[in-house]
Symmetry: C2
Subunit: 340 residues, 2 copies
DNA sequence: GCCTGGCACTCGCTGAAGTCGAGTGCCAGT
DNA sequence: ACTGGCACTCGACTTCAGCGAGTGCCAGGC
């Protein structure tokens, strides 16, 4: 059986009320608060159907109804009107982000802002190396057999790495390697660098080749294999909002999941074309997060995406508002990066 | 009245039992578990005295006793024997830290290790800039009016900052500024740099002075004013250990405090000579943490201290074990930094 | 003088019983 | 197809009694 308009309206009302009050919502209260123009009995019949279809459920016999994950899904996909941000919010975002001096600072401010606006846990991925390009490489001699390699990406991200050289190497040779490496790699997308790094070694005069190979391996490590992307997290205290009711009584699994960078990256890092992704409850592959929802999106200068950001909260969350905020913040951060 | 040895022994037994069981401990159970050689009645009398002196209290009339903050204090100061780490633990620490490739990596591994070993929330401060020295400065031209300043500290920490120049500046001039800055500042303690930076400007030929002044102001910002020291945090999930009993029922204030970097820095950053500092409950100046204890210490290569680290947990924690672990980890990290 | 056994007392915890009421499903009527 | 009515369910809350851990105190013994 398909759901007629009124049933959908009832579902929306249930979701909205439940999100607002955190309590199972009954037919009577629904009619009172939403002027549906029908009687409670009618609503009850609709509810029975919605329950049969799996969109809502009763926590206990003879209590009100609560949306299921599927109910939220339907709500997000078909029923929610996008909430526009208030001008005040827009201004807050702009002002808050404007003061950033530094990539670190941008990310920190962003994640705090997101947490504050959505009142949920916010996660921001640092601009991913694999999606950005090399701006400049610097080699700093530490001792005769040690260099520090500093890589500056076009997103402003900086990585450094110690290089142990196989043999003492003079300052001139270091300068030489530096200029060669820059000539070859500056401006290139990280993903395109491996063959170039190889070429760097191949083109090297024999006597310097082992040294260069050594540098090359660290370069590859830094540019490509570095899978441990960095993250910033904020707003964990928001998990305690709404008492112990959300997250089925225990924050434990959620906090544990939040500590695993790998998990978080999976959640917000897998960004496709500029859509906003909403994962509700069981849709999360992580067991620990089956009681949570994640709203995530990609960000970056212009249309390119260099990283992901998002928020995590109880399935019972204000989806329209959260989605709008996440999108807006992502857009502002993208603009900020574009200015660099 | 002063406390005789047996009363102290009773206090120790109460602390140990309470830490282990998380339940108020009564006179009978105490005698059974600790072979004190006296009867419960005697212990009761001792308890009455201890209570009068403020070292223990009864949650409710006719329940067992629980240590007060003062009780823990006395325990830590006079009663706890230092627990030596097991060889297995030592090996775990060494092995876990050995694989670090990078300062970031060192800090991350350390904080995770601490959290795991103590089963509490761990905090590690990045080597503080103000306590370290400049190893090298690098200036990377981004455009004709923009430079990126990269500062490498002797602790391995790297800071970068964008510099907007007042006028287009050629590559030669940039190189010149770079070598002058390095000549002046490399090897210097951050704290000593301000007059040197000033000298840098003063010694500059007039026509380049405004450019140099511009660089200098960013330098000062980076080297000195940068008060927002960085931190790493791990193990928040451990807060949920022990149910909602610790932290008087709400994790909220604790999580909030953990989000404030300023607060954390105050807690673990104020490191004096290489003592381990223990703050118990009310001794924390932060209101949100009056139900928590913090064990912190400084770390650094050799005898110098470049940063702080520590753990935070319920006042009901295993102090001897925690103190031993914190100290050991700090020592290993210090050794690791010394190798650089 | 200090320790001990005994004893009355306190009081939180637990479980049973009872009440309340929100909310339901169903049915007959419009 | 909707509505009003009605019997029913069942969780939440309250009350009450009994239990038992633990106490404080006191009188007696080493």
């Amino acid at each position: 059986m398909s759901l007629d308009d009124r049933k959908l309206e009832v579902l929306r009302a249930i979701v909205e009320d439940y999100v607002a009050t955190q309590e199972p919502v009954g037919s009577k209260a629904l009619v009172e608060r939403h002027r549906l123009g029908v009687s409670p009995a009618t609503v009850r019949n609709d509810m029975a159907v919605l329950e049969e279809e799996g969109y809502i459920r009763q926590p206990h016999t003879s209590a009100g109804r609560v949306p299921t994950d599927a109910g939220y899904r339907l709500f997000v996909d078909r029923l929610s009107r996008v909430k526009a941000l208030s001008p005040a919010e827009r201004r807050a975002i702009e002002r808050f982000l404007a003061g950033a001096v530094d990539l670190d600072d941008v990310v920190h401010r962003t994640v705090r802002l997101l947490a504050q606006l959505t009142r949920q846990v916010a996660v921001v991925q640092y601009p991913s190396l694999s999606r950005s390009a090399v701006r400049h490489l610097e080699l700093v001699p530490i001792s005769s057999t040690r260099l520090m390699l500093v890589m500056i990406a076009d997103t402003g991200r900086v990585e450094q790495r110690l290089v142990e050289l196989p043999a003492p190497t003079g300052a001139d040779d270091v300068l030489d390697m530096r200029s060669k490496a820059n000539a070859k790699l500056a401006g290139q997308k990280m993903a395109d660098t491996p063959p170039l790094v190889q070429a760097l070694v191949d083109e090297c005069p024999r006597e310097k080749r082992t040294t260069m190979a050594c540098l090359a391996s660290v370069l590859l490590e830094t540019l490509v294999e570095r899978s441990d992307e960095r993250l910033a997290l904020a707003g964990t205290a928001n998990l305690t909002r709404g008492g112990v009711l959300d997250f089925q009584g225990s924050l434990r699994p959620v906090l544990e999941a939040l500590e695993e960078e790998v998990i978080l990256l999976k959640l917000i890092g897998e960004v496709e074309p500029s859509t906003t992704r909403v994962r509700i409850g069981d849709e999360n592959e992580i067991d620990n997060l089956r009681a949570a929802s994640v709203v995530s999106t990609g960000y970056g200068p212009g249309a390119t995406i260099v990283g992901g950001l998002g928020v995590l909260g109880p399935t019972r969350m204000d989806y329209p508002g959260t989605i709008a905020t996440v999108r807006a913040v992502a857009r502002y951060v993208g603009d900020l990066l574009a200015q660099n």
